[in-house]
């Protein structure tokens, strides 16, 4: 037999999309302007070649060149070293020594730069603005500088203050990949759970009246904007990145388009609120920083609530109860959240966003991870190949959720 007779859909066009392809997808799946800009940039740069790993000295020269344009005073950079921990960003730590009017001041910093492409195409500008806005509300690193379009770095980058802490107990063997399934152990678990909940409540009840953002669009209360933008973003990415079809995804998309929830309250949505994305002090058990704001947006709290309760982020405890992010049983989680925020948790909206979130994880792990690794676009292609295993879990979760609503 020969494969020449097969009428295969040619998904390889996505390796080098034409302007017509890009415009078609933009028109088909409208979303927030900054999301559109980010996805369009991704596609327009897709055929430029693979990611090239930079040497430490070369990266430091980028930092120095960038800071020369941002700091109007003597400065120097020292102690440069690579960081790991994130799948999606190239990260380097350094110490910045600055002299203003007084003596030299030193501060530890972290650069976060995009690879040529990642499994979630996101905006550094949004991250910069959001983290700046929530200073004082939740513990976050201070954002200092941003290179929005990769003028000084090969790709968009931002510089934060360094915050110390761990994402999981030093002794644990769990949570090897991005903190997924971390077992904090009893004692630590209870101490972190209260803070985990109170910071989530603070974000969702954040007073947006005085906030000004250039890269975030506020969805209108009483409309389906918030959910529709996210669905369109996910579906557009699925079209842009996948290698083949998964009929379940078409079923999911159609169900979601017919069940878009109406927004009742606009809050700050972290977008990836889970274990592995906060640092804490192992001696005091205080959360020292919330990280990874790249999926952050203004929208529906149920998006965060449904995300945080995804099965891959938690584990079962010693009594066989499932713990959300390894911290708190799911029913307790919702009850205590409502007490802390005064906002209702709508089970139907949770269901919608659980479906959307599972859908989005399948997009990232099955479609985007494949395309990025195929084209050699990131510094972590080997990790992206491995997350195919997560796609099966997320797709199965999506399937289970759909079976309950169809």
């Amino acid at each position: 037999m020969t494969s020449a007779i097969l009428p295969l859909s040619d998904r390889d066009w996505a390796d080098d999309p034409t302007d017509a392809h890009i415009e078609h997808l933009r028109a088909l799946y409208p979303t927030e302007p900054e999301v559109d800009r980010t996805l369009t940039r991704k596609l327009k740069r897709r055929a430029l070649g693979p990611y090239r790993r930079m040497g430490l000295d070369e990266f430091v020269r980028c930092v120095e060149s960038f800071l020369s344009a941002r700091i109007d005073a003597p400065f120097r950079v020292s102690d440069a070293r690579w960081f790991t921990g994130g799948v999606s960003k190239v990260q380097m730590g350094f110490t910045l020594h600055r002299k203003h009017s007084g003596p030299w001041v030193s501060e530890r910093m972290v650069v976060r730069m995009d690879p040529a492409e990642e499994s979630n195409a996101t905006s550094r500008l949004r991250e910069f603005e959001l983290v700046g806005a929530v200073q004082g509300t939740v513990p976050v690193p201070r954002p200092h500088f941003i290179d929005v379009d990769g003028e000084f770095f090969p790709e968009p980058a931002l510089i934060y203050s360094y915050v110390s802490g761990v994402t999981k107990p030093s002794a644990t063997t769990t949570g090897k990949i991005s903190g997924l399934g971390t077992n904090f152990g009893t004692g630590t678990r209870e101490a972190l759970a209260d803070q985990f909940l109170s910071y989530l409540a603070a974000l969702h009840t954040f007073d947006l009246s005085a906030a000004t953002f250039t890269s975030l669009t506020r969805p209108r209360i009483g409309t389906v904007d918030a959910a529709l933008w996210l669905l369109n973003q996910a579906r557009r990415t699925w079209e842009e990145d996948r290698a083949g079809d998964l009929p379940l995804m078409d079923v999911a998309e159609q169900w979601m388009r017919h069940h878009l929830p109406v927004l009742d309250h606009v809050g700050i949505v972290h977008g990836d609120y889970r274990s592995g994305n906060f640092l804490y002090d192992e001696s005091t058990l205080e959360i020292t920083a919330w990280l990874d704001w790249e999926r952050g947006h203004l929208g529906d709290r149920h998006r965060d609530l449904a995300w945080t309760t995804q099965s891959t982020f938690g584990h079962y405890d010693e009594d066989g109860r499932y713990l959300v992010c390894g911290l708190i049983p799911e029913d307790d989680f919702y009850r205590r959240y409502e007490q802390a925020t005064g906002l209702a948790v709508d089970p139907e909206k949770i269901t919608f966003y659980k479906i959307l979130n599972a859908y989005q994880i399948v997009v990232s792990t099955l479609a985007s991870a494949h395309r990025v690794a195929k084209l050699g676009k990131s510094h972590q292609d080997v990790v992206l190949c491995r997350v195919k295993g997560m796609a099966a879990v997320a797709a199965d979760e999506l399937n289970t959720l759909l079976s309950e609503v169809l």
Binding site: M1, S3, L6, D245, Q254, Q380, G389, D396, L406
Partner: protein, 171 residues
């Protein structure tokens, strides 16, 4: 006789015994990625001679999905119906032939999935037909997804791996 499994074991040992001690410990990316590469080689060693069986199994599941879809569609419902019927016949023949190669099995599975997706996206379908098709796709996806979870279980994304069946039970 193919010796790829043996070779993969040797590659893994080489990385662990010879390469790992030479990796610069101040390069965290290298230190992080080497164990992942080693781990993937071990995964591949356990799977390499099962990929053909997997491809055949998955094609069989997509055939079942497509046949169920066709049964729920009226003959004149969509332009894709005729394509689907032809692909089912050809895919079944390919699956039953001992001479069908692994790549070809995968291609037939991909083609069937694409056609099923095309049918599902047909906006001219009546709501009740769409609902019936959606329910069938969800139901028929179950064995495929269960299998894939078992296949990738060594990667460690399962909250409770002990609940999964062995891939031997599917293949």
């Amino acid at each position: 006789m193919d010796h790829s499994r043996n070779t993969l074991g040797a590659l893994r040992k080489s990385l662990l015994d010879a390469v790992a001690p030479a990796v610069d410990q101040s390069d965290p990316l290298a230190c992080e990625q080497l164990p992942l590469v080693v781990d993937y080689l071990e995964f591949l060693r356990t799977r390499i001679y099962r990929i053909h069986e997997r491809s055949r199994f998955e094609l069989g599941e997509y055939l079942r999905m497509a046949e169920g879809l066709l049964m729920r569609l009226s003959p004149s419902a969509t332009a894709a119906t005729g394509t689907l019927a032809k692909q089912i016949d050809a895919g079944r023949t390919a699956r039953e032939s001992a001479s069908t190669g692994t790549n070809e099995l995968m291609q037939w599975g991909t083609a069937l999935a694409a056609t099923v997706s095309t049918v599902l996206q047909d906006e001219s379908l009546p709501d009740d037909a769409r609902h019936a098709l959606s329910r069938w796709v969800v139901e028929s996806s179950r064995p495929l997804l269960d299998f894939q979870r078992s296949w990738y279980a060594p990667f460690g994304f399962e909250a409770d791996r002990g609940r999964l069946r062995s891939i031997d039970e599917y293949l």
